[in-house]
């Protein structure tokens, strides 16, 4: 089941997605999280952030919306307080998810996390739909995304994976711009900008107005985008968006994903990733797959 992501081997391709797994300790109360390929910890910014006002969570028929808004204690507290605790419950390289509001801020935060020995990859989020003046505004413009890549690559040594937004007309152009600027990998998709309206108040349900849609509702959209990006770039792609089962992991890999993240499913079922990993050998057997490495991009002609 092992795969290699930007030069670092994973025992299996399953990775809890940023923002759905905290720093791992809540899940470590339930199971040994060393069974994971790795996990991407809560998005980190230079300064502490409270995030958006309440309510931040809504639901839909086959998924959920969130407008958390990058709540995190800031990179200094993440390194000083969270990562030492994370190191006690998880003993593999971890993926550090980073967000920012300026190119300089991305570089500052990435440089600090890059220096931490347990960080295996930097996942740079240019795709958060729930903050203003940062996040997604870098990921909707190929030139802006490329400027973040160059700034981060200049101050880091570890693989840089750019996390892309689906809220664009042409994700391939953003993906190619990131590759050309030196990104080591891409992860996609972040959540899809969405809204629910409360019939009682007749106003948007989320205090932020819009939120990011995730869960099974977005899976086919994510598969399509991973497929298109895989065609266009030669760096590894991490696929995510509504993945909920071992079958979904295999489908995402056939579309072109080297590794697969699981997000919203962790919130409904805290054992989701453990159970997906446990189910993978049986599903591989059913579809006559001997090694997962061999199926990456297998759906392409």
């Amino acid at each position: 089941m092992s795969v290699t992501l930007c030069g670092v081997e994973l025992d299996n391709p399953v990775i809890p997605a940023s923002g759905t797994f905290g720093y791992g300790y809540e899940f470590a109360e339930l199971y040994d999280i060393d069974c994971l390929g790795t996990f991407s910890f809560k998005g980190t910014t230079k300064e502490p952030r409270f995030g958006n006002p309440q309510p931040r969570i809504a639901e839909c028929r086959s998924g959920m919306l969130n407008a958390v808004g990058l709540q995190n204690p800031g990179v200094k507290a993440v390194i000083g307080e969270e990562l030492p605790k994370l190191g006690k419950v998880f003993h593999k390289p971890v993926m550090a998810n980073v967000s920012g509001f300026s190119v300089e801020e991305y570089a500052y935060t990435c440089a600090r996390l890059d220096a931490h020995p347990q960080v295996g990859w930097l996942e740079v989020n240019v795709s958060c739909p729930n903050v203003h003046g940062g996040g997604m505004s870098f990921g909707t413009d190929p030139a802006a995304a490329a400027s973040v890549v160059r700034a981060v690559k200049a101050v880091t040594t570890k693989p840089v994976i750019m996390k892309l937004t689906p809220n664009v007309t042409d994700i391939v152009s953003v993906a190619k711009a990131c590759e050309d600027a030196g990104a080591d990998g891409l992860s996609l998709i972040n959540t899809v900008q969405a809204m629910r309206i409360d019939l009682k108040t007749k106003k948007p349900l989320l205090a932020n107005g819009t939120g990011g849609l995730s869960g099974p509702a977005v899976f086919p959209l994510a598969v399509r985008m991973v497929y298109q990006v895989y065609e266009a770039v030669s760096i590894p792609v991490v696929g995510l968006g509504g993945v909920s089962s071992a079958e979904d992991v295999i489908e995402m890999m056939l579309a072109g994903a080297t590794a697969v993240q699981v997000g919203a499913a962790n919130l409904r079922d805290p054992y989701a990733c453990r159970d997906i990993i446990a189910a993978l050998p049986g599903v591989m057997n059913k579809y006559e797959i001997k090694t997962l490495r061999d199926i990456i991009g297998g759906a392409h002609g």
């Binding site: 923002g19 759905t20 797994f21 905290g22 809540e26 899940f27 109360e29 339930l30 809560k42 409270f50 995030g51 006002p53 309440q54 309510p55 931040r56 969570i57 809504a58 639901e59 839909c60 028929r61 086959s62 998924g63 959920m64 969130n66 958390v68 709540q71 869960g215 099974p216 919203a264 962790n266 919130l267 409904r268 079922d269 805290p270 054992y271």
Partner: protein
């Protein structure tokens, strides 16, 4: 926190919109009164957080109000059906703070988690006063159950149809050692402003996961951002900050 399957043994209305759900299963993760469970329901993506009203060896009682799709689905379930439950969530009330004569304040469905709290406090020999506030007399539940535990119970109704006219804050007793409150946020704020002395208040929130992973239910406190699901739902009076 524990994930396990419970079997419904009873699911019946106490009033027009308030139901009592009794479940059999593994209650070992429930360690304090005021904790909650997160219930997975068929066809709904997110679990629904419901406070634990009472728990003893293998028996779990949830009292819930039908307010939306999740609680409508719960109300339609029958004895014998099973539920996937995450139990032992949240911090719960701290009974060690009670003093000799604690006061319990419940607003509407907020009375539910006070049941196990009252039971624990009575078992510890405390003199327990309970003030329950409801909109109207038809919504009153568990007045007699609290009395049967030996609590001194006062009921207030907003429309004056039963007991003290007004809110729980219109029926506060003179002397008590510490208070515990659960109810809608306007009630909690009134209690915070008007009840003398120290207390613990239990909050509701829209939650994603219910166990601290998603940061969906965070509120600002005097000690920084806190997750209602994991660091709460019970907060000490001195920690609480209100929105402007």
């Amino acid at each position: 926190m524990k994930q396990s399957v419970f079997t419904i043994t009873e699911n019946a209305p106490l009033t027009g919109a308030v139901y009592r759900l009794r479940l059999a299963g593994d209650t070992s993760a429930v360690t304090a009164p005021g904790q909650f469970v997160n219930v997975a329901l068929p066809g709904l993506y997110l679990r629904r957080p419901i406070s634990v009203s009472d728990a003893s060896d293998g028996q779990l009682t949830l009292i819930y109000k039908v307010v939306g799709k999740g609680t409508e689905a719960m109300a339609a379930m029958a004895p014998g059906q099973t539920l996937d439950v995450l139990s032992g969530l949240g911090n719960g009330f701290d009974v060690s703070l009670a003093g000799d004569a604690p006061l319990l304040l419940g607003g509407g469905i907020g009375a539910a988690p006070l049941v196990l709290l009252a039971r624990r406090l009575r078992a510890a020999g405390k003199t327990v006063a309970v003030v329950l506030g409801f909109n109207t007399r038809d919504e009153i539940f568990y007045e007699n159950e609290f009395r049967a535990m030996g609590c001194d119970v006062t009921v207030a109704t907003a429309d004056g149809s039963c007991g003290v006219p007004g809110f729980v804050t219109d029926a506060l007793p003179e002397d008590y050692s510490f208070y515990y409150a659960c109810g809608p946020e306007p009630m909690l704020r009134a209690v915070y402003d008007r009840a003398a002395g120290d207390g613990q208040l239990s909050f509701e929130a829209r939650m994603g996961c219910g166990f601290g992973a998603c940061m969906g239910c965070t509120r600002q406190t005097a000690a920084g951002p806190k997750r209602v699901c994991k660091d709460g739902p019970v907060f000490r009076k001195g920690e609480i900050l209100w929105d402007a």
